[in-house]
Amino acid sequence: MAANPMSQFDVYRIGPEIKVGAFDISFTNASLFMILSTVSILLIFNLGSKKNSILPNKIQLLAELSYTFVSKMISDTAGSKAKPYFAFIFSLFMFVLFCNMFGMIPYTFTVTSHIIVTFVLAAFIFIGVTVIGFIKHGFGYLKLFVPSGVPAVLLPLIVVIEIISYLSRPISLSVRLFANMMAGHTMMKVFGGFVISLGIVGGWLPLSFSVALTGLEILVAFLQAYVFAILTCIYLNDALNLHH
């Protein structure tokens, strides 16, 4: 069973089955790692914001660097109007980053490798951005689907394409993160399996590959969190500053 590269994505119940009406909301390993991620985020940032010294200590520096990093990312992509959404994007980035990073520890569960989790996040972003767009611009927000400077002949086609691309945003956003995490972890598991099956003689090659992959996966874990957050910023930018 352990040799199955997909078994690491199994969700199983921890403790008793909890049911609310027809819905099963039992505490699972996924819930455990969500809680671990959020608790560690809150712990780190709470420690990092407790004292205010002119020369910050390491944890304060970490907190402040992350703050300025996300704040700069938002102001660069979505401008100053996106300031009220800073806390949400910051939480989003940190949540995805910590879930991804927790997944890199052996024998852990990667929350973001489940399509349902990333899809809920992406759908929330999509709906939120659409609502913000309609609140800010009214029906003028529909101009988003009509790019300027397009010949009238092509317009029906372009509008259809734009609508499809807009509607596919939550899917692409969620699938990108989910597929990256799942692919990386599956790959590491496959190579780990090769190390065992090839043994002491031939196992060194997949082992070294596995080591390299771990580095790559840590990079991907960060990068995907960054991409997720920055795409959110870009969508938000569309809603806040209608360019078309």
Binding site: F9, A30, I115, V117, A183
Partner: protein, 196 residues
């Protein structure tokens, strides 16, 4: 490129899984909806709590910290700038004082020198006058002496010559005739004896 290899490998691994574990489970556990509701519930719960705590408690504190540090640094820079300006002004003042006192010292020195020169000049004038007076007096005396000298000499010459004649001849000679001869001689040879 890397990604392509990556996905190919994944693809093949799925193939491998299907072959090996066909009996065990139906592929990806992600597509099994058994725990979807649970995952969504816990995601909303954890993420919501984290978002609330971050946005209400932690992030304002961090932004506050950053702001206060920024303002403090700016304040310090301002204070440093002010102090630099102050010290510059003080340096200027000090330079002015030095140059002023230098000028003063110069003027005092000049005054003292002038005064000393004046004193010396006055004293010299007085002395010059005194010396001139003395010289003129001495000259007068000399002139007087010089004027009187021929008469006295003539008198001495007359007396000595009369005495000589008396001793030589033994007869009294008339003083007036001798004086006539002496006057005549002294008039002839006066220039030779007295110069001028």
């Amino acid at each position: 490129m890397v990604k392509k290899i990556y996905f190919q490998l994944i693809f093949f691994s799925f193939f491998f899984i299907k072959e090996a574990f066909a009996a065990e489970s139906g592929g990806m556990p992600q597509l099994n909806p058994e725990f979807w509701v649970s995952q969504v519930f816990w995601l909303i719960l954890t993420f919501g709590i984290m978002y609330l705590v971050l946005s209400k408690l932690i992030l304002p504190k961090i932004s506050n910290n950053l702001e206060s540090r920024k303002s403090q640094i700016l304040e310090n820079i301002e204070a440093a700038e002010k102090q630099r300006k102050d010290s510059d002004a003080k340096l200027k003042e000090y330079d002015e004082i030095i140059s002023k006192s230098k000028l003063e010292a110069n003027s005092i020195f000049n005054q003292a020198r002038e005064k000393a020169l004046k004193d010396i000049g006055a004293k010299r004038e007085v002395l010059d006058k005194q010396i001139d007076n003395e010289i003129t007096e001495a000259e007068k005396e000399i002139d007087a002496l010089r004027k009187n000298a021929p008469d006295k000499i003539n008198k001495i010459a007359i007396e000595t010559s009369s005495e000589l004649l008396q001793k030589l001849i033994g007869a009294e000679v008339n003083n007036s005739s001798i004086s006539a001869i002496v006057d005549d001689l002294s008039k002839r040879n006066g220039d030779k004896y007295y110069g001028n």
